[in-house]
């Protein structure tokens, strides 16, 4: 019988318009035989309608009607495919400057970022922004796909020049732990995407698909310190489960073990884990990001938003946070306004205490002219929260180190923040 792939890789794709992102994704799906016949037929029909002779693989990933009409992608779209070893989730994000928010969204859960560039143009302003955001969001691996190699006769010198440009820029990235890799490809013709190319004898690295299949990712977060944000409480009192109380949540970091001496923050109580339960059986240990129910030796009233941690491994508890901020809303940040800060299962009002810096979106250097954040702006702020927050720096834990800001009046998510 078919056996399930054993691991999961989430990746995001970014590129400027016409770099070939849609074609590349279409190519990955097509060459890995993840496309169904009726989808191919639909795309062939649509290609013909648009006057194309060949099947246009980019149409496989084109989405909503409005986008079709404009011929561009305007929102994050998710794609799925699997090889015998791995299941892949692609967050396909558009490359337009005004849609930086989509890239931030897609990157927030990604293990790997594919950044496309057209070998003829090399690194452009957009590429810098894509690299910067991927690095800012703490993506572990960044793969630079140097595309359209067919248009330069698969010339090694031009490829090397592009690699050189990117490597120099990489030294300036906010997060130096992201690893960069490069692949020379032709999305249109399939070179080095799934199948190794005969046109690049000078390239002895892996194809893009091999890289995706083999990259090590640590998204289980099991190596981290134990972090268990409480989502809710399950209480029942039946013959089978007399006076039952358990705390539910998804482990945000580390390993939870029966017998663990734990501390509850910000309440400051201590207790011991007596059991870890799921409907299909009790567990001796559970690891991030499993969703479980935890029972403690003491009957404690634990509201949503409290965090269970191991004694001695405690995160920071505080009400003043410094955030790297990505502003996502069309309405600029207004420091006079009330925002709700959501952090794991916790939500609290906050005020903006200081706008430290807003970056110039092109140079990614501080822009002294900018006094506040508008759509797609990146920068740093300090907020003060009404309730204490139990957090880690983002670079240590992407779950306990991230927040979103919600406009209290419109209820819209206006920003994503990473705790410094």
């Amino acid at each position: 019988m078919y056996h399930e792939p054993t691991s999961l890789l989430r990746f995001t794709t970014a590129g400027s318009v016409d770099d070939g992102k849609s074609t590349l994704i279409g190519r990955l799906l097509y060459d890995s035989k993840s496309i169904f016949e009726d989808q191919i037929n639909a795309v062939e029909a649509a290609s013909t309608k648009r006057g194309k002779e060949q099947i246009d693989l980019s149409l496989l990933t084109d989405g909503l009607k409005a986008e079709r009409e404009q011929g561009i992608t305007i929102d994050v779209a998710y794609r799925y495919f699997a090889t015998p070893n791995r299941k892949f989730i692609i967050a396909d994000t558009p490359g337009h400057a005004e849609y930086t928010r989509n890239m931030v969204t897609g990157s927030s859960t990604a293990d790997v970022a594919l950044v496309l560039c057209d070998v003829r143009h090399g690194m452009v302003e957009q590429s810098k922004r894509h690299l910067y955001i991927a690095s800012l969001l703490g993506i572990e691996h960044i793969i630079i796909c140097v595309n359209k190699m067919d248009l330069v006769g698969f010339d090694q010198a031009q490829y090397d020049a592009v690699v050189q440009e990117f490597s120099e820029y990489a030294a300036k990235l906010p997060n130096q732990s992201s690893g960069l890799q490069y692949v020379p490809i032709s999305a249109l013709e399939g070179d080095n995407v799934v199948h190794a190319s005969d046109h690049t004898p000078w390239y002895d690295g892996q194809t893009l698909m091999q890289l995706l299949e083999n990259l090590e990712v640590t998204h289980h977060q099991g190596h981290q310190q134990l972090r268990f944000p409480v989502q809710g409480t399950v209480r029942v009192d039946t013959a089978q489960h007399p006076d039952y109380r358990a705390y539910t949540g998804q482990i945000a970091g580390g390993t939870l073990r029966v017998g663990d001496a734990v501390e509850i923050l910000p309440a400051g109580r201590t207790s011991t884990v007596t059991s870890i339960e799921t409907m299909t059986g009790t567990l001796e240990t559970a690891v991030a990001p499993q969703s479980v129910s935890v029972r403690l030796a003491d009957d404690i009233d634990l509201p949503r938003g409290e965090m269970i941690v191991r004694q001695g491994d405690t995160p920071t508890v505080g009400q003043e946070l410094k955030l790297r901020l990505c502003w996502l809303s069309e309405t600029p940040l207004n420091p006079g306004r009330k925002y709700v800060l959501q952090h794991t299962s916790n939500a609290t009002r906050c005020v903006i205490k200081d706008i430290e810096v807003v970056l110039d979106i092109n140079t990614l250097e501080a822009d002294p002219e900018k006094k506040t954040f508008a759509t797609n702006d990146l920068g740093r702020i300090v907020v003060k929260t009404m309730k204490p927050i139990v957090y880690d720096p983002y670079e240590k834990n992407r779950v306990t180190g991230s927040v979103i800001l919600i406009d209290e009046a419109t209820h819209v998510t206006v920003a994503g923040g990473m705790i410094v």
Partner: protein, 303 residues
């Protein structure tokens, strides 16, 4: 990564993500409801809801929009499930909407009640004051679904605005809303058809017999194998024939296509899905009306 970290399979990872999201629904909304079609996806979603709150009962009722053209097997299965797990069932009826005059029956040989379901669904959500409707839709099903959020905001008319969706970052979901607005929540967003089958197999989840190969009287229309029944408008010169088939999705009898198959066990179904070259929804006459038909329905407030 340290060596002794046990690694989780992709099924464990998406299960954990879904359970977390379902618990967020319970925490952030006052009156959620499960949109239950009786198909494998909503059955899987219900299973995840049971896991999310065990040993407490599922804190949401089920809402089934009955087109009046359901497979009898689906209804029997639904009623058993409700009984077995002590659930509350609410049935919204398309026939009732037609009788009231809020929905108008389509006519002709391709007539279907699919679009009318939206009317009955929105009526039921409003009548009961549900502020969040959990759906079993998956992003891999259709291109319009690929851009759907986990928590999807609907305006006071129940409409979806794909261009103005709230960004969804990390694993934080924002369910804040104004009075009169509601949300759709899709815990199976990241599941594929294969994931669902593997999970049903692994968790031993019961599903309706329609999914397994069986003999059935069918007609073939526009290349789609449809179950013959009194609900199917007859077409001249068409002779129903008994075929060995199974269903990959279960919807309205008038437009859910069957596939010729001898897969009568979960193992065989999984093998079949692994080698199949057409999408699940490809066999649904309702999605074939135009290139964007599902997207158009979704904007109006369809599941």
């Amino acid at each position: 990564m340290t060596k002794n970290t046990p690694s989780l399979t992709h099924l464990q990872l998406i299960e954990a993500e879904s359970i977390h999201m379902i618990r967020e629904v319970a925490a952030q909304f006052e009156k959620p409801v499960i949109m239950f079609s009786g198909g494998k996806d909503s059955i899987t979603m219900l299973h995840l809801c049971r896991k999310a709150f065990w040993p407490a009962p599922v804190p949401f009722p089920l809402l089934h929009i009955d087109t009046g053209h359901n497979f009898p097997e689906t209804l029997a299965f639904r009623d058993n499930l409700v009984e077995e797990f002590g659930l509350k069932l609410i049935v919204g009826s398309v026939q009732a909407s037609i009788d009231k005059g809020t929905a108008v029956e389509e006519t002709g040989k391709d007539a279907s009640r699919i679009r009318l379901q939206t009317v009955s669904l929105l009526e039921a959500l409003e009548a009961h004051g549900f502020d969040c409707a959990l759906g079993g839709a998956r992003r891999d099903e259709e291109k319009a679904r690929a851009k759907e959020r986990f928590f999807s905001h609907r305006d006071e008319f129940g409409q979806w605005h794909p261009r103005h969706q709230r960004p969804e970052l990390w694993r934080m979901y924002n369910g804040r809303r104004n009075v009169g607005e509601h949300f759709r929540a899709f815990p199976l967003s990241n599941w594929t058809e294969m994931d669902i089958w593997q999970y049903i197999y692994k968790e031993e989840i019961a599903i309706p017999s329609l999914y397994f190969a069986h003999d059935r009287e069918c007609v073939v229309r526009n290349g789609i194998i449809l179950s013959n029944s009194e609900h199917l408008p007859p077409v001249a010169d068409e002779t129903p024939q008994v075929m060995q088939v199974r269903f990959r999705t279960i919807g309205d009898m008038t437009c859910t296509g069957a596939v010729a198959s001898d897969a009568d066990t979960l193992e065989k179904i999984i093998d079949e899905v692994a080698t199949t070259r057409t999408t699940e929804r490809g066999a649904r006459a309702d999605d074939r009306r135009s290139e964007t038909s599902l997207e158009d329905r979704k904007r109006e407030g369809y599941f």
